[in-house]
Amino acid sequence: MSATTYGWLVLAFPLAGCLISAFGWRVLPGRAAGWIGTAAIALAFLSSIGALVALLDKPVQSRELTSSLYSYASAAGLDIKLGILVDPLSVYMILVVSGVSALIHLYSVAYLASDRGYSRYFSYLNFFVFSMLLLVLAGNFVLLIVGWAFVGFASYALISFWYRRHTATRAGMKAFVINVIGDVGLVFAAFFIFRDLGTFDYLSVFHAAPQHFSTNQGVLIAICLLILVGAFAKSAQLPLHTWLPDAMEGPTPVSALIHAATMVTAGVYLIARTHPLFELAPTAADISAFIGLATLIFAATVALAVTDLKRIIAYSTISQIGYMVVGVSIGAYAAGLFHLMTHAFFKALLFMGAGSVISAMAGTQDIDRMGGLRRALPFTSVLMIVGALALAGFPLTSGFFSKDEILVFASNRGGFYWIFTVGGYLAALLTAFYAFRIIFRVFWGEPVPEARELEGGHLAHAEPANPLTGEPEDTDVGFPGPEHHIAERDRPMWLAMATLGVLSIVGGALQIPGLDHVIETFLRGSFLDSRLYESVPSVLADWEGLAVGGAVALAGIAAAYFVYVARPGTSAALARRFRPVHAFLVNKWYFDELYDAVVYRPAIRIGRFSTGVIERVVVDGIVTATVDAVRGIGVVVRGAQSGFVRAYALLLIGGFAGLGLYFLIVSS
């Protein structure tokens, strides 16, 4: 079978899984929906491998294959087809997406087993994977936008999965609206592209762009900035990042899949995909890189202060995606995408571990209430340490190889790009610190009561409550199920985490400087037209950078050890001494408050003004004024109808007399 046929199969399996779970929700027994969902994604993964094999059969120059089903909406000069593009970049992405998704599905089979919305969950999750694969495989901008929006919808549906919680529905709304802002940006980028190049098709656009646009032409910068609006909304970069921490309201596997491993990487993918446009507009690419750097540092600082376990990991995601954005913006495509893959592994792993921990803690997510869970959760703790090591970039883990490649590339580009290297290493220090902040806080120290219960073999239970606000919830559909599942007891969770743990460690083997560069070689087929792709640093420079990175990681871990294990009161003391700084960080640099004041409240005020003033005064005013005018005239005319018979008689006689006189005079 050809690569494109495999491409269609990759899309077909998750869609089929979604529909089966959706329509069969009443008839599917027990965990069947879960297994069907997992099987669908596993089949998609196998098809991705098929596509990979078929693609590798072809010579490097001709690995961009397209296929289209039918003309979806073509009229008046616009030609919009349902078409996919199978090339190294998209095959790489579908492998990562379907692979990690399959593992997360496996994890969810057990994690959500007692939830009454089980089938609905797997239907949505399969739909999400379908949308993400559609986004990545799309061969033209319109289908990209469709996939983009579907992914946004799936994210909304899964964030507000427990829809009786108002915090969840509000978070879902926020995510959705910011996503739509991104959609609109992409739509306008597509408009500009169509106006100047006459087509939406990727290959045509990328071939025509260098001939049609000159470097840094205004329109091109506008296009790239609009693409960035879309990319940053989806990838939660500044200033459109506020939805991601709130998105932690969704079930933990959702956080793992959508908000760590796949959906948020769509922006990175997009910048890599549209690299011909960005390379023609270096100003836009630099803007992108600087925003990535700013996000990178911002998120790392916030992760030092917040106390909700999932939100720390969420800010870590924002920060790491900042790395990837910097990578693909400055031309380190292979490195950036490599980090995308390794990050998917260890971040998903960290979230899975977090799920297990939260289950053990009977729903609490506040790390200040956790401690000493090492003995109660042996497997989970080991795997979370693995994940944290990879996140920190500990030598020889996958994160070690992927993260620092980007920074070395930056320093190799010369000019002002050293800023990225310095900033990157600084953030790496913070990353290592907060990664092990989690580990030491949760797993070291005095065991909390829930941990002791678990050591005694009994899983703690508590009244179901909203983790954010503490309000009690009633356990009907729309809330997590009553049972809690931990990796130590549920085989599917165990298996998924173990696989990711192994991948987090050995995944780096794909791109060891000087030894092999599997990823770089493979992706070259999509970047043949790139001027920056081949300007990789020397092996020596690479190893120098890796060494610095490793040292930074060890320093961060040591610092964390000092603060959280050796001298336990240190973090509280620091918070007290630097109270305003701490408040600033804990409140996420007050972005939410800023948006509330600048965007949300004025909008509501405009709405109230319209209702109160414009509707009442202007619109109804026209009607009321007309009615009053007519009534006024009526009152005046009514005066003549006095009811006096004699007045009527006078009018009659006077009228006749007048008429008679008139005719007499006229006729004489």
Partner: protein
Amino acid sequence: MDITWYVVLSALLFAIGAGGVLIRRSPLVILLCLELMLNASNLALVAFSRAQGNEDGQVFALIVMVVAACEVVVGLGLIVAMFRRRLPLNVDEMRDLRG
């Protein structure tokens, strides 16, 4: 035949009748004056018929008398009804049919 004085008399009677309709307040008197006006026009009709030499005017005068009779019946009936209900027989007080 010279009918000048007849027409003058008719006009005089008509004016007196019209004045009565406008000035008097009692419905009965108004009806009387209305009769006066009608008879004045009858006189004018007969006079002109004599001057023309054909009977058209006289025929028309008969018709006017019929109409006058009907109208008097209705008017007197209204006045009797008003009287029976003890309504004031004053045309100025009958004002309910107004705008």
